[in-house]
């Protein structure tokens, strides 16, 4: 499974997805520790943008990582080996869509495609899609909060 920005024009800019992502994987409440990033494109007068990992099959971020901290994930995208991450930000530079940034501990934040954000989106902007090589049980189990 992977997350897909399905209906961007329905986004109301509520940030519920970001709050959900950050509180699921971190012990704190924040916007900055969210893997998904809601932005504006010219202020609130203009449309919102959802910046999220595209689950590349051959992820440039993984190739750019000098320490092997970003391992290809089954179904696209990457998994982070936190202890290997040095916070060099080369992954962030390599990601054309801007889906990687650093957290408060200077470690990369990468989307796990768990779908917690989709369950807090009030307008079905975000949805989960099956991808051919994915382990289909992954998404259901990972909806549960991870310590």
């Amino acid at each position: 499974m992977r997350i897909k920005v399905a209906n961007q024009a329905r986004c109301i800019g509520c940030y519920s997805c970001m709050m959900a992502c950050a509180r699921t994987y971190y012990s704190t409440i924040s916007l900055k520790n969210s893997a998904i990033d809601i932005q504006t494109s010219g202020g609130i007068e203009s449309a919102y943008v959802s910046v999220v990992c595209h689950a590349c099959i051959d992820p440039p971020c993984s190739r750019a990582c000098p320490t092997g901290a970003l391992v290809k994930r089954n179904g696209g995208g990457v998994e982070l080996k936190t202890d290997l991450c040095t916070g060099c930000e080369q992954c962030a530079d390599a990601c054309l869509v801007g889906a990687i940034h650093m957290d408060g501990n200077a470690k990369a934040i990468v989307c796990r495609h768990c779908g917690i954000c989709t369950s807090f989106c009030p307008h079905e902007v975000l949805e989960m899609r099956k991808v051919p090589s994915a382990d289909t049980t992954h998404a259901e189990t990972s909806h549960k909060e991870v310590k």
Binding site: I12, C14, T28, S30, G43
Partner: protein
């Protein structure tokens, strides 16, 4: 009070002195332990900061912006409370705004910002976490569009999508006493003239952002409470009204109930109500709904105004936010017949940064005066106001903002000042010096507006109590009890800066649970007592600033036009007012 916050950094007050371009942060645990945040803390900070013998536009008069302990933590806690001395009424000024400011202040690490002094030249304040900068705003002073101010600052300030940009327009710069502060384009500190206070401080704008993290005591309790509140908001019909038609849903029912002020309250229903109804706006003009940061409702309704400006299908398109009060103030109350004209008038006020309810009130009074030939053409500069005449209303708005002569300067000081100077005070519609919102429902509304701490319909929702009275025949004592109940619970909601649209979600039980999830223990009794205490503290300030409930006089128009509950009898209003005063101040406990 029983306990302190277990979360650190939620009681930081950022003090900014514009005269010396300095700032400092002080942790005010004392105030937050007692008053939680929002309106309670802001009132106390105002009390500390206001100096005897100064007026609203004096540089020493503080502006306080406050959020609450739930801001950024639970959904719909999206408001920022501003407290200041009102240049319109001369007394207690308070106005609330949504948008992204609450979220930005929370993650920047400030629960309140207190601004004093006057900058030597126009400035804007840039606040990003601990980084506070005073930047030259001379080149954007005088710019005719508040929307453009946002566009310019967006390009020179960091943190796209997570920041808030609040700014004044030329109304605030020129000291129009009911100038607003526009927040993130579509929201406002609208009422009571905060924009003029910013202008007097040479303060054009404030940009706030932050990327802080908030520690919580018990993550699973927090997540479960969050989920419960969130589901209640998005999976029940409690919030349907706000994301369906929005507040303009009220146009048709209030019209039906004879509660919709029309043509300066000469009528309470409007022949063209269908045309400017929420239904018509939604079906034919609504293009987008958006929300304040961290609210999943999406109540901000944006209409498209498409205007042909030249042949060959040359159109200009504007996106304009609309609400019930705006459609009343620049619609029914001016006899405006089409949504296009209402939107055009709203947009003009938005760009100048001026409170639309007050502007509508001033124009409605001036129209009646004008139609009775009470002004000279010299005074009005040949702008002759008539119901429904959009062109002249647009011209009058321009002239009020510009204030080129004594007449328009008087109009820029509000309907009380203008009617003292030119007459017509019987139909200069205000409560406590503030032009009235869009309700003429009965004695609950009239007394509610009069006793309310900011003379606003949202102080105690008197209009809603009247609608209950219409259905269930409430006694005057029951009306007084309900007004006091609402005054007090709204004091609590506003201390937590919960959007009042979500008051159906945040009952006392939910508030107690949400506070407990972040380690703040409060009982319902303590919260009720807090609400009452805050009300009393505000009244102390109101008295200090010269307000006295015993001095209240009502314009006779209130008693000459039928309301939802029929003709209102002045003697009954005075009686209900006395009952309210007795219950509040003589017999103690309510």
């Amino acid at each position: 009070m029983p306990n302190t916050f277990s979360i650190s950094g939620l009681a930081n007050v950022l003090y900014i002195d514009l005269s010396n371009e300095t700032s400092k942060v002080v942790e005010r645990q004392d105030l937050h332990d007692k008053y939680l945040g929002g309106t309670g803390v802001a009132t106390m900070l105002m009390n500390e900061g206001s100096k005897e013998g100064t007026d609203a536009l004096d540089p020493v008069s503080p502006v306080v912006l406050s959020i609450g302990p739930l801001s950024g933590i639970f959904p719909c806690c999206t408001k920022v409370v501003s407290v200041f001395r009102s240049p319109l009424t001369g007394e207690f000024g308070e106005s609330h705004a949504g948008g992204r400011l609450a979220m930005a202040m929370r993650f920047a690490g400030y629960s309140s910002i207190v601004i004093t002094g006057r900058a030597k030249r126009p400035v804007y304040i840039s606040i990003h976490n601990n980084d506070i900068a005073f930047k030259d705003a001379s080149s954007i002073w005088g710019l005719s569009s508040t929307t453009d101010i946002g566009k310019i600052l967006r390009n020179v300030e960091p943190n796209i999508g997570k920041r808030s940009i609040i700014r004044i327009g030329t109304a605030g710069e020129n000291g129009v006493r009911y100038a607003s502060v526009n927040v993130d384009t579509y929201r406002h500190f609208g009422r009571l003239g905060l924009g003029a206070v910013f202008g007097a401080k040479n303060l054009k704008a404030i940009v706030v952002s932050g990327d802080g993290e908030i520690e919580i005591p018990d993550k699973s309790t927090y997540s479960n409470t969050y989920k419960k509140i969130f589901s209640n908001i998005v999976e029940t019909d409690l919030m349907d009204k706000y994301h369906d038609l929005g507040t303009t849903e009220n146009i048709l029912p209030l019209n039906e109930l004879n509660g919709l002020p029309t043509r300066n309250l000469q009528q309470t229903s409007f022949e063209y109500a269908e045309t400017i109804s929420g239904e018509n706006f939604a079906d034919n003009y609504l293009v987008r709904k958006i929300s304040c940061a961290h609210c999943p409702i999406g109540c901000i309704h944006i209409a498209m105004l498409k205007t042909l400006f030249a042949p060959l299908h040359e159109y200009e398109v504007k996106h304009i936010s609309y609400d019930y009060e705006l459609v009343y103030a620049l619609g029914t109350n001016l006899g405006i017949l089409t949504p296009e004209s209402v939107l055009e008038l709203i947009d003009r006020c938005e760009q100048y940064g001026v409170d639309i309810i007050s502007m509508g009130g001033v124009l409605a009074w001036a129209t009646e005066m004008s139609m009775h030939k009470r002004f000279t053409t010299g005074e009005t500069m040949n702008v002759s106001l008539k119901w429904g005449d959009v062109t002249n209303y647009l011209r009058a708005i321009d002239l009020i903002i510009e204030s080129p002569n004594e007449f328009y300067s008087a109009l820029a000081k509000g309907v009380v000042f203008a009617s003292r100077k030119y007459g017509g005070d019987d139909f200069a519609l205000h409560a406590g010096g503030l032009e009235i919102p869009g309700y003429h429902t009965g004695v609950g509304n009239l007394v509610g507006l009069t006793v309310g701490v900011r003379h606003s319909h949202v102080d105690n929702g008197g209009y809603s109590i009247d609608q209950k009275a219409f259905k269930n025949n409430l006694s005057d004592k029951e009306i007084v009890d309900l007004l006091i109940f609402e005054d007090d619970i709204r004091g609590v909601l506003n201390s937590l800066t919960i959007c009042l649209f979500a008051r159906g979600i945040y009952t006392y039980d939910t508030i107690i649970e949400a506070l407990a999830a972040i380690g703040i223990e409060r009982s319902e009794e303590e919260l009720i007592e807090l609400g009452r205490d805050i009300f009393m503290k505000k009244y102390e300030l109101k008295r200090k600033f010269g307000f006295d409930l015993d001095d209240v006089r009502f314009p006779s128009r209130f008693f000459e036009t039928a309301s939802t509950n029929g003709m209102i009898d002045e003697a009954r209003v005075q009686n209900v007012l006395s009952m309210y005063k007795d219950r509040r101040w003589s017999t103690g406990k309510t």
